[in-house]
């Protein structure tokens, strides 16, 4: 057990810190510290490509596919320095952290060659087609259908249905879709995992307005949407396994980057308390200390989870991570508003758009819902983590 970094790690830190600061001070200063995921999309695509040009886009990937085979320590360091430099949230998070590793794990050589370079180069932005109006918490209740059509040798999947909460779909190039490929199947059986081009007449995206005034999430309508027969990851009818493996990557290294964002948010709360004098309030101090403790424990929880050899292994730390961070951030949002007081309830401009902390207060109410509600997380922890019996099924 060792927490410190080696001299080689520190040299790596110096290298990436220097490059990141140079970028954020110079060519990309205009998007430094940009808070949300919906602004300045063209510039952020350029930033993705700039990262790729210097091989900083997906450092945990194999060198063969544009990565650096970075060690865990290096990935920790890069996430820290990325945030410290004020670099913007990655708009291709889903491509780099979820689609990529899943294709690396399940894709054929041909599929890897087809999809990975675009992600690594920052030219293919991805989104995720899981949830449906009737398949939220009950994710296996997918109704979107996929059927194979066309002449032998030129078959295509034809997909019909509706996805919802498709984060960032409105500027994505690719989507992975969980669809029912076996007529009449139910639950997790008979699903397939398809990789589809967003730029086609069969796909329509409608943004969903959120309570914070923005629209990061979307409804995605698939009406005879198409993809080649071989744009399927894993075997036909075994899409559920692929979908679940992908979710495990969500608990992977990407958590470190997210934590650096949380660090910035907590620092902003502390700064606000210092500015208005509440930093001297013993009750506020207790709450800040709790937040600080929680953030540190997320960090060390993530390191504990990542120090295990098998990333996909579901151990306690991994199972509990989602509810932990979502709850922490919801509480931080409440603390932030209590610290800001009424000043935090007034927007700076004429539009219904919010600065970092009030926006976090509002947006964090969705953190405990998307990607599995806190309730679903507790079910998972109890049944998978503690081995408790499942509930009886069926109507009362």
């Amino acid at each position: 057990m060792k927490l410190g970094f080696s001299a080689a790690d520190e040299a790596f830190r110096a290298e990436c810190a220097a490059w990141l600061h140079e970028q954020m001070a110079g060519p990309f200063a205009d998007i430094r510290g940009i808070p949300n995921l919906c602004d300045a999309i063209p510039r952020r695509k350029e930033w993705e490509q700039q990262l790729a040009a210097h091989r900083w886009s997906c450092i945990g990937w194999p060198e063969e596919w544009g990565g650096r085979d970075a060690t865990l320590a290096q990935q920790v360091i890069f996430a820290e320095e990325y945030a410290r430099a004020g670099a913007p949230n990655r708009i291709n998070h889903i491509g780099v952290e979820l689609a990529g590793p899943t294709i690396l794990a399940f894709g054929s050589a041909e599929q890897k060659a087809r999809y990975l370079p675009g992600i690594a180069a920052g030219t293919a932005i991805w989104c995720q087609g899981y949830s449906e109006p009737g398949a939220g918490s009950d994710l296996a209740n997918v109704k979107t259908r996929a059927r194979l059509e066309g002449e032998p040798g030129a078959e295509e999947w034809v997909v019909n249905g509706q996805k919802v909460w498709t984060s960032l779909a409105h500027y994505s190039d690719m989507i992975f879709v969980v669809a029912r490929s076996e007529e009449g199947s139910r639950g997790p059986k008979g699903l397939s995992f398809l990789l589809m081009d967003m730029d086609q007449p069969g796909i329509e995206v409608r943004p969903i307005g959120q309570m914070n005034g923005e629209a990061e999430f979307n409804e995605t309508f698939l009406t005879d949407a198409r993809c080649p027969a071989d744009a399927m990851l894993g075997a036909q009818g075994e899409g559920w396994q692929v979908a679940m493996a992908l979710l495990a990557f969500e608990r992977g290294v990407s958590t470190l980057g997210q934590q650096m964002q949380f660090r910035n948010e907590l620092d902003a709360v502390i700064a606000a308390a210092r500015a208005n004098g509440l930093a001297a309030d013993p009750v506020v101090r207790q709450r800040i200390a709790r937040a600080e403790t929680g953030l540190r424990l997320m960090r060390y929880g993530a390191l504990r989870m990542l120090s295990g050899t098998d990333l996909a292994a579901i151990d306690g730390a991994a199972l509990t991570y989602k509810i932990q961070w979502a709850t922490w951030r919801r509480n931080l949002g409440e603390l932030a508003m209590d610290v800001l007081g009424q000043a935090g309830e007034i927007a700076p401009g004429e539009e219904y758009r919010w600065p970092l902390l009030p926006n976090m207060y509002l947006f964090s109410r969705s953190d405990t819902i998307y990607g599995g509600t806190n309730q679903i997380q507790r079910n998972l922890i109890a049944e998978r983590g503690l081995g408790l019996p499942r509930e009886p099924r069926g109507t009362p």
């Binding site: 918490s137 209740n141 919802v164 309570m211 919801r330 109410r365 819902i369 309730q375």
Partner: protein, 357 residues
């Protein structure tokens, strides 16, 4: 000793609930939210109907001055019903001003203002803090965080140890409305540059009455909002099916709703205890007011947060009403003293002044 509504009170409750359910619809509230300028966050037609047809803008004001001659209990019933619909109405400030003038105004001041407040012709707003200077009889300085301040005509503000009425159309007054998180009750800032204001005869009595009305109004709104959040979530939970069952049949979901009910029942006791204590001039009144404001605000915020959570994805959309409740709850937490501030006042009463004994 009978802690239940009289028949007359039960009737008032029924009337206002029906009025707001029929009129303060989501569509109308959203239209008010989208409005800009003075009418931002104000459903003026609703306000007219409320003051005119229903005649309740002066619910807690004396009949001699055009009021309904009722008390804080009945005012709380009105605020509870308005809160249940997150109505876009300047009820709060108007009630605070009316009660302040009734308690601390001279006969002439009462004569001048109360009938117009009771008729809904004058919309009031009230300051909490702000630092004004008095020079040569004129007030100057900034007065922030005024609920419905842009729509208001009359401002109650403390300065130089007295309470003052400021005509917001008077020379030297500049009011700036803000885009506010809770768009159904936008905040404004008033700048005063040497404004001639009207000193109330008994400033201490006026401010105490204003605060009592404000705290009861907010606590009652919070109660109504919390109950509505619970009711709507219960209704949703019976319709929405996941895993082959209505989600309301899942025990964890049920227990969360049960916890909401436990808090709401206490909030209900708090609101009417405080209102009754004020009406009866009970020595417990101040304790009750602080307890009601702190407890109900937190209860509403918890319930509105749960409303979002238990609706799942649609709960955090703009389209669904959950965020109206949530943002109103957030604004109630902050307005006229945070829960922590009110609890510190309770601690002072029970620990330092022995009110517990």
């Amino acid at each position: 000793m009978e802690f239940a509504f009289t028949e007359e009170q039960a009737m008032i409750g029924e009337t206002v609930r029906t009025f707001f359910a029929d009129n303060a619809t989501s569509d109308r509230t959203r239209a008010a939210m989208a409005a800009t300028g003075r009418d931002a966050g104000l459903d003026r037609a609703l306000w007219s109907a409320f003051a005119g047809e229903l005649g309740l803008a002066g619910v807690g004001l004396p009949e001699a001055h055009g009021g309904a001659g009722l008390g804080m209990v009945e005012f709380a019933q009105v605020a509870e019903a308005a809160g249940a619909r997150v109505a876009a109405l300047p009820l709060l400030g108007t009630a605070m001003l009316g009660r302040a003038i009734a308690a601390g105004g001279s006969a002439a001041q009462q004569e001048a203002w109360l009938p117009r407040l009771a008729a809904g012709e004058v919309i009031g707003t009230a300051a909490w803090g702000g630092e004004l200077t008095l020079a040569a009889g004129k007030l100057s300085g900034m007065v922030p965080y005024l609920p419905h301040g842009a729509a208001a005509n009359l401002l109650l503000v403390p300065a130089a140890g007295e309470a003052w009425l400021v005509d917001l159309a008077a020379p030297g007054v500049t009011v700036t409305g803000h885009v506010t998180m809770d768009q159904t009750r936008p905040l404004a800032t008033a700048r005063l540059d040497g404004v001639v204001a009207e000193r109330l005869a008994d400033g201490a009595a006026a401010l105490a009455a204003a605060h009592a009305a404000g705290w009861i109004g907010l606590a009652a709104e919070a109660l109504g909002g919390a109950q509505a959040a619970l009711d709507r979530t219960v209704a949703y939970s019976r319709e929405r099916v996941q895993f082959g069952r209505p989600i309301g049949s899942f025990q964890a979901y049920k227990h969360r709703l049960a916890d909401m009910m436990v808090e709401i029942e206490q909030a209900r006791s708090a609101v009417y205890w405080a209102a009754c204590a004020v009406d009866e001039g009970s020595p417990e009144a101040l304790l009750a007011l602080h307890a009601a404001k702190a407890f109900c605000a937190e209860t509403f915020h918890m319930c509105a947060g749960n409303m979002i959570q238990l609706h799942g994805g649609i709960g955090f959309t703009w389209e669904h009403d959950a965020h109206l409740f949530f943002k109103r709850a957030r604004s109630i937490l902050s307005l006229y003293g945070s829960p922590q501030w009110h609890r510190e006042r309770i601690a002072a009463l029970v620990i330092d002044q022995g009110a517990a004994a």
